[in-house]
Amino acid sequence: MNPSRWTNRGLLVLLALGLLLGLYPLQAKIDKAMPREPVVLRDLEGPTAVLIAAVGGFRGVAANLLWLKIDELWHGGESWQMVPLFRAVVSLDPHFLLAWESYGWHCAWNLNNLAETALERRAWLDQGIDIYRDGIRANPDKYDLYLSLAWLYYDRVKEYDQAEPIYIFVRDKFPDRPRYVTDHSLAHIYEKNWRVADAVAVWRDCLRYDSKDHIARSALEWWSQHWNDPAWRQKLLTDENNFRRARGLPPFHYGQFQLQGVLHPTPPADQMPPGLPYRPQDYGPAQ
């Protein structure tokens, strides 16, 4: 037996052991810093090639293949069959924002429309809300899904009091947000609730940021004329309720403090909200 050979082997074994011991805690740190979503096998759908790609480390490719399949089903009008594939796509690639957006939209708009009973319709709306919330949990640092959720509450469910805090959150957290979506929608929510002072404050902010914001200018002009106009307030209420009736949603009226929000009273004639009347010269050139 060659003692030097055995010494060398022993040293190599010790070196490997020492390196492994050093790696063990480092690996725990790496795993924490680079969190991964496990492949949920029960969520996987689609052809065998997709399954192989998914378990073979090419989850993104598997998600893309399913995405192409969804596109095909969409053009074939097979709306119901798209649902499990959407689930598989977002499970395989939780950062695929477009997939989350389309999945939520498909449930809350398309399938909600196709549903036959009020209960089913409500279930698809709730499904859309849950999908956006899951997507936000997976992508908390992107504003896209917050805006999708807020829009769902605003446009589809008509629960303005649910949409408002989400728009405010996006406005405060994301300086790079698209203002024509976030801030304008927030102002429209205030308008629908006849919260004149709040709406005017948001429109003024929009104009301070971009003096070419024609929508904000028009809105301020309009409020200058109608802030104290009970006929317009009544018209808004009637329009809103006609729309709600057509959608099968509960009516919206002053004094209803439930989910739909509150229509505020017309301000007294001697209390014009700050920022009104609108004076174009306060906001720089429009062009």
Binding site: G18, I30, A33, M34, G60
Partner: protein
């Protein structure tokens, strides 16, 4: 507890280096030229077999095919082309690693050409390291060539170029893929020191899949109990963590690659790779050639 484990590990590594300090320098002086010669020979051999050229052409075809999907919206195309392009580079690298790596040592042993090399003043560890570095050079050349073609495809596509393409993150993602391939290559070499070419290919594919299911195994640890949990934990500890090197979905979804964790991942990967190569050398030292 983790600090104690780290300290013990460091003490052991330092102790080994101190104990072997007198032989490290002369051994290195001898090893470098020998390792270089074996690596060069490995590259020349692979070039003769045209594996690389075929792999390169196939991968180019795959890269271009994704480029021509025209019915998607610009945002979708950006995601699909970037994700699948990066995956194609990894996939081609993985196939090359398996199909070249599996032949390197077993073929030399079966043909008995290893006798001739080892009869010269080439030590066994130099032979293993040379083969590994040759494989690394081949995979590196393929990854660089494909990356250049891929970058050109992306830059020449106006929709993708203006869709928020971040070349720095793209380069970082390719680097991470290459380190993953380097780790995978070391595992293929380790397996090839023990068994035949066919077995190495089969086990190689298995190791790639296991390494890519890292988060799934990690998830199992938290759901198991008792002895089962210990067993899965041991498997998780020793398995290659290839999934950590997958930054494709970050790049294609406009998520920046976090630099510090990514560098830690590379560091951890290099330590793992060193351990695997030490094991490969130890096993090849014992093998009857």
């Amino acid at each position: 507890m983790t600090h104690i484990i780290t300290a013990v590990g460091l003490i052991v590594v330092v102790a080994v280096i101190v104990a072997a300090r007198r032989s490290i320098f002369p051994a290195s002086l001898h090893a470098f030229p020998a390792v270089y010669r074996v690596a060069r020979m490995t590259v020349a051999e692979a070039r003769r077999r045209k594996v690389m050229q075929v792999g390169f052409l196939l991968a180019i075809g795959m890269l271009l095919s994704w480029r021509f999907i025209s019915y998607l919206s610009p945002g979708e195309r950006y995601k699909v082309v970037l994700d699948t392009g990066l995956a194609t580079i990894s996939f081609a690298g993985m196939l090359l690693t398996i199909f070249v790596g599996a032949f390197l040592i077993p073929t030399e042993v079966e043909r008995r050409t290893a006798y001739a090399v080892l009869a010269k003043p080439v030590k066994r560890f130099e032979f293993v390291l040379g083969k590994y570095l040759g494989l690394l050079a081949l995979v590196g050349a393929l990854v660089v060539a494909l990356s250049v073609v891929f970058a050109l495809i992306l830059v020449l596509d106006p929709e993708i170029r203006t869709g928020g393409l971040n070349l720095k993150d793209l380069g970082f993602a390719i680097l991470l893929s290459y380190v993953a391939l380097a780790i995978f290559g070391s595992l293929v070499i380790l397996v090839s020191t023990m068994t035949s070419t066919t077995m190495t290919v089969i086990v190689g594919f298995g190791l790639w899949i296991v390494g890519s299911l890292q988060s799934t195994v990690q998830n199992l640890v938290s759901h198991a109990e008792g002895g089962q949990q210990v067993l899965i934990n041991v498997i998780y500890t020793i398995m290659p963590k290839l999934e950590n090197f997958d930054a494709r979905w970050l790049v294609s979804n406009h998520v920046p690659i976090p630099p510090v964790p990514a560098l830690l991942t590379i560091g951890g990967g290099l330590i793992y790779l060193a351990v695997v190569l030490i094991l490969a050398v130890l096993i090849f030292n014992e093998r009857q050639v």
